[in-house]
Symmetry: C2
Subunit: 229 residues, 2 copies
DNA sequence: CGACTCATTGACGTAGCTCAAGGTATGTGG
DNA sequence: CCACATACCTTGAGCTACGTCAATGAGTCG
């Protein structure tokens, strides 16, 4: 019984050998480079060997919504055939230097059709993305920004990450862009959590110092089943 | 280049013969009956022969968000293996009397794994759902309710439906529940469109009488490519 | 005809947005 | 090692879109 995830990692790692055995080229992206820029036709699919990328949607009024993060062992963007208009306003950007295996879209689709395991994993991955978007669109939508923020911090604190436990590597602007709220408003909610001794603010990251109190603020759909009594 | 769709219909119709040839039972649902109730473990997959169903997510505070509509020729809910917590708060309800072919979940998964065409269609269907949710979560989220409403009416007016052209069969409450806005606020936006001579309100349905003026209010991501100059 | 559901409109409160000014870590070049 | 620039964080004041509450009207059905 899974709760949503914003950070994807390792989902396709078991197929690394298979990917290496298929026609591809190794590619590197520098920090801040675009893996996939706005309005660009989608020609390649990447398997990420190292580094981390961020996917975001750009709105015509200048806002941007951060959708998800992708690190080692994941495939991006996917391999459906239908072309959707909204995809033209979605971009993907390297947050660190990255190494990827690059496949031509058609080649990758053939692999997807012929390798049963890849087919199954890809399908579950799409389902996971639907799950995340359902959570945002049908659940978070109704919460006030303070609860939205608590939920987000909880979900990130549940993501097994290298580094200090309780450390969430997001700037206040990142947080605002995930929650689709204003940066100032996000800062205000953070300051409330700080006053209540639940988090500590830092430059570029947030530290959760009282996870129980944080979980107590979260909405039911957010909590891991074992934390819901 | 597809724009989002809230109403699904006919996507799996070409496999009707195949579905009939596989172990299933015919089932009927009465209007307002639940195909899939809240918190219920998902045991069956349905192919809809006739009638229409609505899928919605229930929020703990009592709000409900309408996600999509499913009519003849579609399969519901899908066939991924992973279980997601949010799925427990999603329900599906018959809007009219319905006839469906009911498959055991495991049986359907086997069919999905062995029938290449079903596999491919299912994959595109998931991609289409992601597209709809991305549109809602990353685009509509930033629009004010009036623009949200115009976008919604435009998208519904683009759905090829039987019956009068320009007729949209949604109550004001339905509209509010799709847009995740308040019913009163939805009514106010509708009254503005009425004053401007773009729509006519009716009991249980809305009539678009000036589609050009409606399209002019829509955001860029919403319009069909051929309508964007 | 009465009961019910759906639509309309007004008054009022508030969460969150915008604008704006100042504070504090981090990095860079002299 | 210090001066300065830059990026990020903090806080305040005012505005507005939207939500809540409430009353009334207008089709539809038994």
């Amino acid at each position: 019984m899974l709760i949503p995830r914003y950070c994807f990692s390792g989902d396709f790692a078991e197929l690394y050998g298979f990917f290496l055995s298929r026609p591809h080229i190794k590619k590197r992206f520098r920090k801040n480079e675009y893996l996939w820029a706005a309005g660009e036709p989608l020609t390649h699919v990447y398997y990420i060997e190292s580094g981390i990328a961020q996917t975001l949607a750009e709105h015509e009024d200048g806002n941007q919504k951060i959708l998800s993060f992708h690190s080692a062992g994941t495939v991006f963007p996917g391999c459906h055939r239908t072309e959707f208009k909204i995809e033209l306003s979605i971009v993907s950007k390297a947050l660190s230097d990255m190494e990827v295996l690059s496949f031509r879209k058609e080649e990758f689709y053939t692999m997807f059709r012929s390798n049963e395991r890849l087919n199954a994993l890809m399908f579950e991955w799409y389902a996971m993305y639907i799950n995340l978007l359902l959570y945002e669109s049908a659940h978070q939508e109704y919460n006030h920004s303070f609860i939205k923020l608590c939920n987000l911090l909880y979900l990130f604190s549940q993501t097994p990450s290298e580094g200090t436990p309780g450390r969430i590597d997001l700037t206040q602007e990142n947080i605002a862009d995930i929650l689709t709220v204003n940066r100032v408003n996000a800062a205000r909610c953070l300051s409330r959590l700080r006053e209540e001794g639940i988090i500590k603010s830092h430059r570029k990251w947030v530290e959760v110092i009282n996870p129980q109190a944080l979980a107590a603020y979260c909405s039911r759909e957010t909590l891991k089943p074992e934390n819901t009594l």
